[in-house]
Symmetry: C2
Subunit: 315 residues, 2 copies
Amino acid sequence: MIAEAAFIDSLRALAHDPAARGLMDDAAVLDIGGVSLVLTHDMIVEGVHYLAHDPAEEVAWKLLAVNLSDLAAKGARPIGVLLGYALGEAGWDRDFARGLGTALAAFDLPLLGGDTVAMPGGAPRAFGLTAIGRADGPAPSRAGAKAGDDLWVSGTIGDAGAGLALLQTGEAGPQGLIERYRTPRPRLEAGLRLAPLVSAMMDVSDGLLIDAKRMAVASECALTLALDAMPLSEDYLALRGADRDARLDAAAAGDDYELLFAAPPGMAARLLALAEEIGLPLTRIGRFASGAGLTLIDGGEELALPARLGFEHGA
Amino acid sequence: MIAEAAFIDSLRALAHDPAARGLMDDAAVLDIGGVSLVLTHDMIVEGVHYLAHDPAEEVAWKLLAVNLSDLAAKGARPIGVLLGYALGEAGWDRDFARGLGTALAAFDLPLLGGDTVAMPGGAPRAFGLTAIGRADGPAPSRAGAKAGDDLWVSGTIGDAGAGLALLQTGEAGPQGLIERYRTPRPRLEAGLRLAPLVSAMMDVSDGLLIDAKRMAVASECALTLALDAMPLSEDYLALRGADRDARLDAAAAGDDYELLFAAPPGMAARLLALAEEIGLPLTRIGRFASGAGLTLIDGGEELALPARLGFEHGA
């Protein structure tokens, strides 16, 4: 992990253009002819980001969705994608192409280009996708939260992590949790509507706690997060209940692909009205203050932070 | 190979936007606020596109160079890149980051973003790079050649393939050939200057014969290519001589990263003057005609096409 952090630091030195946002953001934001072009590239690796027996169609969906989630967090409307594809078994590849077609059609997007490569036999496969979008308004960074802002999150947290656990253990449980893991829904409409209202925004991909901490660090603020305010789904509550362990697991699980954003308290009524309008819960879960550090509270009581806040870089 | 072709055909069905150029071109060309944005994504895989013992710095150079070569072929000026990086051994990663820094600095480019992922232990690594450029003039496609146009190529052909053979056999030979394999020079300046003069352009990455055939197919023309006109370097001639086998090997070797372009015969004097000016040979090697098919001639005699014209997709 220390070597990985050093590697990423050495890349950061190459990201001197303001469009790169110091590699601290979900996406690069480039001014092209007066248009804010938003660019992101995420990879998924067999055995790391998806399970070898996950259906190929759903791996394709996930590869697209995780990238569109980054665009959503910048309030961008996707324009198209480039695919980097490692060929494998022909039937799997055919299913992947069909799944990618379904996913692109769901978001009305074209494939613009990319590359197809052979891998040495038996090698785990790695896929990359570059998503290109345009932000017609501001493209909020994750560094804009101000002391006094509330921290909000869309949807529910922990479902995908619980779904992954069901797949790994083979236990029975609500299918909706597995769907959240395999076919996340990028919050594009919410991102477009939220972008003009928020002071900072990012998506929750590595875990609510670690991602919230990253927003606080990037914004040079302290953050208090209320574990008991964190939104949990009916499915999650049915499987795991709502005790502290269940809530801590959800908060560090990752793969949520929800939007995490900061907004001044005066914005609350508008945000709650927007949630009604778009049919997606938006929930206040914390508060930024001057200073530094992440504090976790539950029922008014301060908790020690868990050792693991989510996935670190590279996982 | 048939399965791969079917897979690529199924992707082509998803590339319905004109910007995708039917996935037949080196890059996507997108109109953004009146600017022609050129986007390309190439991957390189350990053991397929580079040798496991190639120095990490030079793998980084190559990853950047192969993508910039696609921009060069569209007459685009690069703006920045996104990196998809599979972490490996810490020292190798450090050298890669240093090499990427050197390469980006050589082209005065920023790293804009990307992703860093862990691979399962021992897996061959795959890297992707997305290069973004802008074409301030026309972005020639590979489909624009007309019957009567000449086919031209920049630089010399076959050097990289000979360098790879030296590395694979351990034989002694000119270091310049190995450099051509490990650290190709994208012809950015030539691409910018050629774009307004040509009717079609692409880069030679998979082999002169296969790439020339692709241009002819995309342009719906027949093409006659003169093997004896193909430019060979002093290094290549010193190692391999100029007999027919040596020339056929060069023509199918790949990894040249030269520019291949079509232009009306009346453009010849301007092209030769440009070659003088930029210090890069531009050589007429063929002629397009109405019809279809690739014909190879050598000393006025028609040759059977070799079984292998270059690398097929995926290699």
